[in-house]
Amino acid sequence: MKLFTKLTLFITLSKLALVLIFLLSLPFLVERIASEFTNNYLRQQQQKVMEVIGKNGVGFYLQDEESYGSYTLLKEEYIALELTSDRLEIDTIENTERIVESDTLNYRVLIHTFTDQGNRYLLEIGKTTSTISQYNRPLQRIASVVLIALIIITLVADLVFTRFLLKPLGRIISSKLLNRKFPFRDNIPPVQTTTSDFKYLDHSLITLMDQIHDTFEKEREFTANASHELMTPISILQHKIENLIDDAALNPEFQHRMTEMQRTLNRLKKIVRSLLLISRIENDQFIRTESWSVRKLVEAVMDEIGHRMEEHQISLKLQLGDETVLHHINRDLIFQLLYNLINNAIKYNKENGIIRVSEVKKVNHPYQLCIEDTGIGISEEDLPLIFNRFRKATDTGKSGYGLGLSIVKSIADYHHIALSVKSKLGEKSRFTLTFSNETVKC
């Protein structure tokens, strides 16, 4: 999941939880506030009454009677004062029922006892509970609406800001990672951001890729230098031998031995060339921009080595359509790949054998090219080794320096071609090339 999606989810969920908690606790909170407010109100009323009593004496209210009561028209509040014989000190606020003019009503009542001129008095101030809670509902509604509005505003603000904040990260990913290809030759400018973490990430990525690129360039230079260092002495030797062979003064025996030297040197040359070729392929020194028809490529190979099949009475079964085209390839490398495979199919075939070059072309199935021979086959224990450099199948008895198939493997890897082999010793071998969708669209 993308970071932005995760953050969006988290922010939304946490805000929803907040709203839920608040809405659930709102009735309780409002009630608490209303009750506190009422208590305060009752105390204030008490204070006012006590002030009047302090100023004017209890008589102001009692007027020589035992008790005094006063209530508002709708019985929402009342004040009662009476003489009491109870000696207990009482000063409480509680919810209780009172009967006022034959109506039983719930009141929040402040009960207070006090002594005035030697007499004990009991003061009660009450307020109906229904008036206390009358504002609860509208209050709750307003609070909920305001809260939800605020939440929505902050949510939008959070998301917009998060998006803005994460934008450099997206740019770093797309410019530095997604759209770049090994060996990162192009210089991409740093992403503009004020977030130091992103700056650090971007900078690290640039440094890392520059390092990879440098190493790659060094490797490339090394290959070129190694090529020069190895090929120059071989060159000198080759030319000396060539001039010597031509020297008419040489006797035939000498000339024959020089020829053998030349052959050996040629072998060395081929090995060095093959190794350098593999190294260059692995070092990405070939462009892959050409498009060629499979059939044309196979025919070009046949043009080069077809005569070898005739020599051994090997027949070719070409089961290819005309229209399959390979894209994004290096023509010379793919030619070399097919050349090596077909050359092997000839070299390790039997007299009167068959070579079958066929294709698998189906919708929704990667394109496959098979090269099959009726040759000596490869034993099971040799199968995993055949693509290793310098590993020669043990019992072929034929020459080969074990680099042909290594080159095949390198070229296949370079073109994202999957390579598989099936073989039955003494009967047949089958090499299957499975192309990526980028190379062949089915």
Partner: protein
């Protein structure tokens, strides 16, 4: 034909020089880029064989300068670095051919001949070989009025040997010419024998091919009186 060989490896230059002299080229040597430019300033050459890995001047830069001094010469790049980019750049800069070291000396000569034919518009009449007439331009072999069919490879072999007449060519040299860098190991030398056998068979039907000699243990040679 006058050739300037620009090559810093003295031993290599010596061998190429010896070979070209034998093939009747007049060859000057330059071991540095500076020396090469000096010589190009005084002399006019038909061929300039240029090693790219010189100690003092970058080979491709030298090629550009040399082309100004000697625009009509044929340029062949010789290099052991084997960079694909070098090859493309060299040809872009106007080199006529490119040979990766190590190359075979007869191969160098045949490339020079091919460029010479193209560049200096030399049209040789068909060459007489025994009772046969060989036309290199049209790639045909004739006996009297009858045309003899040779495969592409067979004709390549025959014309390569004809170019190097009176000179033994080994199977290695021949297979390298025919298959280039694709030629592999010892196997190919056998195929050379097969090709020669087939050429002989085809031509023998018309007349003797005693001029095509087998040199035991070495290779083949076309002997021809000049």
């Amino acid at each position: 034909m006058k050739v300037l060989l620009v090559e810093d490896e003295k031993m290599l230059a010596y061998e190429v020089n010896a070979f070209l002299k034998k093939a009747f080229y007049i060859c000057d040597l330059a071991h540095t880029g500076k020396k090469a430019l000096e010589m190009l300033d005084i002399n006019v050459y038909d061929f300039i064989l240029l090693d790219l890995g010189l100690p003092d001047i970058d080979g491709l830069a030298l090629l550009t300068q040399a082309k100004k001094l000697n625009p009509d010469a044929a340029y062949i790049i010789l290099t052991a670095r084997g960079n694909i980019e070098d090859r493309i750049k060299g040809l872009d800069l106007g080199a006529d051919d490119y040979l990766a070291k190590p190359f075979s000396l007869p191969e160098l000569q045949s490339r020079m001949q091919a460029i010479g034919r193209r560049k200096f518009n030399i049209r040789n009449e068909s060459i007489a070989l025994g009772d046969f007439a060989i036309d290199l331009q049209n790639r045909t072999v004739q006996h009297g009025t009858s045309l003899i069919e040779l495969t592409r490879k067979q004709f390549d072999l025959l014309s390569y040997m004809l170019l190097h007449k009176n000179r033994v060519l080994t199977r290695t040299q021949l297979s390298e010419h025919i298959w280039g860098s694709y030629s592999d190991d010892d196997c190919d030398s056998n195929y050379i024998d097969v090709h020669i056998k087939n050429i002989r068979k085809k031509l023998n039907a018309y007349a003797s091919v005693c001029w095509l000699e087998t040199i035991r243990g070495v290779g083949y040679k076309i002997s021809k009186q000049l």
